[in-house]
């Protein structure tokens, strides 16, 4: 649909939020005890933050929970049975106030979960999701959305995108039918937009992702990988805070006869990830795993999933205990 721009006053935002939260799950950012932003379901409007730069964890868990049950089973030798998960029970969720990088990540995840074979768990969750995004009026040195084809005002992945106006009110871009449905339900809250200036931060471009992708095609054996991953300690923090990392493990867990098969977040940074039962490991040292992480996002995914595997949110770098700064490395890779 064609994008419609409207005005929503600051005080109307509260009404909109409260109306939505009255009968839906609304996932919104608040400032936690450690002063960092985190998303919670249906917090009071007074606690919802409009000024955070990035939450510690991304919001991918709405569509890709850290643990997703795939089915239940009863194991009784000759008569084992399987019980399906009722996907109709997946609730409607409104994601409120998430930034353009996080919202664009839903598209990236779709390119992984729905290429070739459609993953119902993911796609049903995505169908039930409505995104009311928030353009960024602040950013920091870890942000690099503009280097990966996005910007602090990108509307990709949002159904409605709110952008702060210099007056303190908000511009609402209505981008999809889902977004329009919300706006039509609360017509009184939206007014015609007069010519008003938006308050959007500037994020400096650090590298050209196209050049990085071109360079990576011939960089598999480059000495760069060892030299730049010596300090990597091989934890999964970068993958788990990342909004687009989708690697997963599948496991069973049983109590007595009954149990479940589930998938859970996994990380290419772990040695165990690719370890064969024989003991052989195709990626046996950390430099190979770090290479996989960068290659996957900036070379393999553009090639296989027609999508860049990174939205430039900077979480992997700000959350890394040893400052494996991905933007810095990509900038360097562009020039090898």
């Amino acid at each position: 649909m064609e994008t419609i721009r409207k005005l929503i006053r600051k005080q109307s935002l509260e009404k909109l939020y409260n109306n939505l939260a009255a009968n839906r799950k609304v996932y919104a950012p608040v400032i936690a005890a450690d002063k960092k932003a985190e998303y919670k379901y249906n917090p009071g409007f007074a606690d919802v933050t409009f000024d955070h730069i990035r939450s510690t964890l991304s919001v991918k868990n709405i569509v890709f929970p850290k643990v997703e049950n795939l089915f239940f089973y009863e194991n009784s030798k000759t008569e084992s049975t399987i019980t399906d998960i009722d996907l109709d029970k997946i609730p409607e969720v409104v994601l409120w106030g998430a930034h353009p990088c996080d919202n664009a990540a839903f598209d990236t995840l779709r390119s992984i979960f729905c290429w070739d074979t459609k993953d119902e768990f993911f796609s049903r969750r995505l169908e039930k999701l409505t995104v009311i995004g928030l353009g960024c009026h602040s950013s920091d040195e870890y942000c690099f959305c503009t280097s990966v084809g996005l910007s602090p005002s990108s509307s990709r992945g949002s159904d409605i995108l709110l952008t702060k106006l210099q007056t303190g009110d908000y511009q609402a871009e209505i981008l999809t039918a889902k977004g329009n449905e919300i706006v039509s339900s609360f017509p009184d809250l939206f007014e015609p937009l007069t010519d008003e200036k938006v308050d959007i931060t500037e994020v400096k471009q650090k590298f050209s992702h196209k050049q990085v992708t071109e360079k990576l095609a011939g960089a598999f054996e480059h000495e760069f990988w060892i030299a730049n991953s010596l300090r990597c300690i091989g934890c999964g923090a970068c993958a788990y805070v990342c909004p687009t990392c989708a690697c997963f493990d599948i496991q069973d867990e049983t109590k007595g006869k009954n149990g479940k098969r589930y998938r859970s977040w996994d990380s290419c940074g772990f040695g165990l990830f690719t370890l064969h039962t024989s003991g052989h490991n195709p990626r046996h040292v950390q430099s190979q795993r770090w290479r996989q992480r960068i290659m996957h996002k900036f070379s393999y995914m553009p090639d296989r999933n027609e999508s860049l595997g990174c939205v430039g949110c900077g979480r992997c770098s700000s959350g890394c205990p040893v400052d494996m700064n991905i933007a810095e490395q990509l900038e360097a890779l562009q020039n090898i």
Partner: protein, 267 residues
């Protein structure tokens, strides 16, 4: 600082070592580990109060060992980690040169293992002051309150294992959580599985933790998991009167038995 840089250059130039592990400020100003192989790059080495990561974690990393003999910038926790790694036969002192740094940031002349031993001997080995206060706060809680506190904290865990990976003592090539015959610990990250993991991790570090706090610092979601191991450090000291990483010949208190061991904690 200049002394450290000069010493690093000298060690690299006369080929005593092939790499110096120290600290540098990255392009965003964040202090991070540096691996200097070219003496010309030694000028980027820094040492100040921001240099807190326990660098000893790299002494058992294959790619780092592959570089050759290592000189390592070592504050007290790093030296104690080295002592632990030696006592557990993971490294030998001959493989490394210790660039000791005193608590007030002065380069020490650690000529050999006995000098390092002497330095450790005269240092305060109990938990660092800033953690002691937190531990004291926790001790005031009732068991039920404590359980609630940890359940809440551990519910944040995403099982990224940064706590394990950041710890110099967690050098096992196959961690217990990765063993699946039997599956000791639930793989998934939920209240139960997270609690299992953190209790297991803490217990495996009882009597081995040198109180650097690195596990808590590494945690991306801010769980103070270092308080678990530090509490055990206190407990071990109370019962056995030893601190980890204080002797190259130390046996792990949890895996050795002495006839005069206290038994009062056995229920």
């Amino acid at each position: 600082m200049d002394n450290l840089i000069l010493r690093a250059k000298e060690l690299l130039e006369n080929k005593t070592v092939q790499v110096v592990i120290g600290y540098e400020a990255g392009p965003t100003g964040v202090v991070r580990p540096a691996f200097i192989s070219d003496p010309a790059n030694a000028d980027s080495l820094i040492y100040d109060e921001r240099c807190v990561q326990n660098l000893a974690v790299y002494l058992t990393k294959p790619e780092v060992k592959h570089l050759g003999r290592i000189a390592i910038v070592s504050s007290l926790p790093v030296m104690r980690s080295i002592m632990m790694l030696i006592s557990e036969q993971q490294i030998s002192y001959d493989e490394i040169v210790v660039l000791g740094i005193s608590a007030d940031g002065v380069l020490l002349d650690i000529a050999d293992l006995s000098v390092m031993q002497g330095y450790i001997d005269k240092s305060d080995l109990s938990n660092p002051v800033k953690y002691k206060e937190l531990l004291a706060e926790l001790k005031k809680l009732t068991p039920a309150e404590k359980f609630e506190y940890w359940q809440k904290e551990l519910s944040k865990c995403i099982k990224c294992y940064a706590c394990r990976q950041a710890c110099p003592m967690c050098y096992c090539t196959r961690c217990t959580v990765e063993v699946n015959q039997p599956q000791w610990i639930s793989v998934q990250s939920n209240a139960h599985g997270n609690m299992e993991w953190h209790i297991l991790r803490a217990m495996h570090l009882a009597g081995r933790c040198i109180s650097c706090g690195e596990c808590g610092r590494a945690c991306p979601v801010g769980i103070p998991c270092h308080l678990l191991t530090m509490h055990l450090t206190d407990q071990v000291y109370n019962y056995f009167k030893v601190y980890a990483g204080t002797s190259e010949k130390m046996n792990s208190v949890m895996s050795t038995y002495e006839p005069n061991d206290k038994e009062s904690f056995i229920v």
